[in-house]
Symmetry: C2
Amino acid sequence: MYRTHTCWELTAKEAWKTVTLCWRVNKVRNLWWMSFIDLRDRYGITQITHDPAKSKIEFPDVKSEYVVQIVWEVVARPESMINKDMATWAIEINTLEVKVLTKAKLLPFSIVDEPNTSEENRFKHRYLDLRRRKILDNVLFRSKMLNFTRNWFSDKWFVDVQTPIFTVSSPEWARDYLVPSRINPGQFYALPQAPQQYKQLLMVGGIDKYFQIAPCFRDEDPRADRHSCEFYQIDCEMSFVNQDDVYAIVEWYLNQLIPTLSPHKKITVAFKRLKHREAVDQYWSDKPDLRFGMSLVDMTQDFAQSWFSVFKDTVAANWTIKAMKFENKILTRKEADELTEEVKKNGAKWLAYLCFDAEWVKWSIAKFFTPEEMETIKTKTWATTGDSVLFVADAYDVVTTALWRLRIYIRDKYLNLNKDDLAFCWIEDFPLFEMTDEWKLDFCHNPFSIVKWWAEALNNSNKLEIYSEQYDLSCNGYEILSGSIRNHDPELLLQAFKMVGRGEDEIKQKFGAMYEAFQFGPPPHGWFAIGFDRLLMILKDEENIREVYAFPKSWRAQDVMMGAPWFVDQNQLDDLGIELNAKTKKLLQA
Amino acid sequence: MYRTHTCWELTAKEAWKTVTLCWRVNKVRNLWWMSFIDLRDRYGITQITHDPAKSKIEFPDVKSEYVVQIVWEVVARPESMINKDMATWAIEINTLEVKVLTKAKLLPFSIVDEPNTSEENRFKHRYLDLRRRKILDNVLFRSKMLNFTRNWFSDKWFVDVQTPIFTVSSPEWARDYLVPSRINPGQFYALPQAPQQYKQLLMVGGIDKYFQIAPCFRDEDPRADRHSCEFYQIDCEMSFVNQDDVYAIVEWYLNQLIPTLSPHKKITVAFKRLKHREAVDQYWSDKPDLRFGMSLVDMTQDFAQSWFSVFKDTVAANWTIKAMKFENKILTRKEADELTEEVKKNGAKWLAYLCFDAEWVKWSIAKFFTPEEMETIKTKTWATTGDSVLFVADAYDVVTTALWRLRIYIRDKYLNLNKDDLAFCWIEDFPLFEMTDEWKLDFCHNPFSIVKWWAEALNNSNKLEIYSEQYDLSCNGYEILSGSIRNHDPELLLQAFKMVGRGEDEIKQKFGAMYEAFQFGPPPHGWFAIGFDRLLMILKDEENIREVYAFPKSWRAQDVMMGAPWFVDQNQLDDLGIELNAKTKKLLQA
């Protein structure tokens, strides 16, 4: 046994015992009369001193990052000297022996201070990067969140099922990762983008509540909030639920997770609900950051008769005018110019602004408005003295895009939002269909979501106004959950497929197992999936999702530490019955 | 809300309430005066009756496997009628409404009785197979074992780390599954055979205790105790441990897991320890089934001077004689012939047998032995009256193979072993090196295991007698764990590699990250990995590992339900820069 205790474990219970500890040297400070040595393990840091003049033991030469083994005699402090609040202070220690277990070369970057190096270099030596408290904390937090989550769902009778990692390609959705099969030449497995079909089949099989922290695989280009190769989701499917039942489970989980694991975080917007149409109209986003206001207010009809010709002409052209309140802010001329530049960058010709301040009102566009129009602006935007209101008048897409980007710009530059505020918002009533670029009707998202108001809705003559019971949950501008109530009725499913010009043959070919399973008494069921890594990233204030993985991929989807991906031997390809195609071979020769 | 309660949840607390339940019809029995309907959910089965003459409600026509929604009024039973031991018996129910939610076609096989169909057909409709109590129990048990295991290790301060699923090829070990990279053309990821290097790097990073129920991927041919594509292991690595520390953790875990989850199982052999050499000599197996005796006893030298020429000649030829006691069994002539046939099938020329019974001794080979030789046989095999002793005299490999197979044959045919007995045995002191077919020295198993008795041992002139601190744990004839103490000293590692004619260049090329990491103060560390599925298979008495997966692959590594693997579109291959090779194309055209 190398060690009897870890750091911070020693208390008066160990008094008069001899203990052995294995620690890493954090820092050494040699003064002329004495050395101070900080020792570290995963559990904490402690300092020991070494006085060469008084010491009776041989003290080896130690440097930062060496691993040492120390033998201590634990001595109880006299009663009068005990600090009752700190159990570890009830004792003193007497060093009997110090032994260097392994030595360390000089590290390529500091792990005590902020590392002055590139992300690539950190990732290449991730095993050293992990010694930094911040990264270590992320890894420890992830473990705690895994444990909390699994216990939470297990306690609620959810069954943890490991669905297959080797499955079939579903090119309908994102791009699949493929694995050539050696035993079945010419054929490929696909890694699951999500365990969708399997979890629906579990419902048919009678597992009425399923969950899994499921690895998912999508061959997409990396992004700051999207890890390449694999990512994890808290994946659930439940029988006999409607939308409110699903919401209740998710809110219950988050309302317990956050105070338990991140007590400093506060839920400031507790699960507001916005229809997808409203979210788009008000924020031009299906994942709006609701920690602050600044929703987009449509004022087109309010200026139809305006004396202000720019606005009046916009309305006449069937274009749009939207307003956005900038609360507690009277713009300076310079700031107004800066914001105008921003909207111009995003395609708008002009930014109109109105500051509710005596001085400004005099010479701003206010002079073009009637008192009634001013009143309407105030009422609709809730603006009062001290606020500004910003307008863009243009084509609908231009207006919304420009104001949406301006809203984010103002957030990042002017609003000092509290990172510990969490604003959760359900986005619901997604349209079932959309028009493709070729002006064909197709499914907007998942064709297996149930149609809202059932079969009657499918008869709606405006197919784009048919909604599905599908929902997302956004938090602080990130999408952290998707879900829906499923369409478990094979006839209704067929009807929906037929509306986009796809028939039973296609369903049978692409979703054969599920379509057949639905003939055998499926229960009504619904699902959700929470982006585990993304939620973790928000709770740990990370802006780059890669930092919440112990061993992340780089922005080129590479593991620079292990050198993955890499070239393989010809005989490995031969075994699999594949080869590089001509284009790739040429590329590699170049 | 579709349901307010699940089966077995209703107690007196619900008295005078109206409850809604959603259940599946298990069986309907229509008698002329009344119908009995068994209803089922994951939690249990209950029976309701329907008397058409008395019923005031409209009762729909229900068939097996329909999903129905029932509204009940719960009525408390009079105090005198309550069975205190069964909470659910404190109430009576009054059916108010029955509604069919979904109908079911006739199932392709019975899920109530034993299914009279092929494994392929069951797997094709696994969602129906899951409705069978036995398979459902496996899925529920798996979930419980996942939860128990994760909590157990978390409670002991192990950190759950999800190591990458996309990593680099390691053709040293088994065959890798490869994933072509789209972003890095011509390069491939490999799925991890085990997270070995990552978990060692976690130790260097300061995560002193790591665990994960890790998905592992090896492209091997399927076997009854080996699932194709993916399997799971309880994967651990610990800093500052020696072999006994690792054993203690594993034994502690199993000693708590088994009584908690499978209280009917008894550990009858509690972690015996056998050196690898002993296991091979005594059982010709590194995973012997120790629920029964019948070890192989070497008696070669005891018959060097025997009058029994067959034995004497064997010794003279430098061959081997081994004996095996068949306890409490006097063979009939027919049985002796049958066992002789068995050893002949396995290459031995002859089986000698000696039954310690007055009648037999007269005319058996006993007559060739001196009283001293008879005494030696009894002493060495512990045979007494009523036992038989079986001998094979031949070349070492022939003797051991024949007796090893005979031992299993006798177990399966003659010994009625209790499935609930668990015999655990550590196999340790594996040789570090072996001779390859080309008579070259190479690593026997993992080159990263530490050498036993450290650097001195490497100077041993017989390289095959150098042992490593590597160990397996066997249970009832299955290997359920592997592990070792690691060689964390880069110099000693290099020395070992050099002995098999491999140098620093190769280490750096193949294990570069780890070799470099070891320059920065690695802690001493060790590992084990328990085959999660295999342990589960033993605890659930399954002989086929496929049954412990919710969605197993067939013996052709296929998911026959989803149709995986399958052919993919040409554009998917184009995206990845690969194509089928000429041989595969030709095969597919044929």
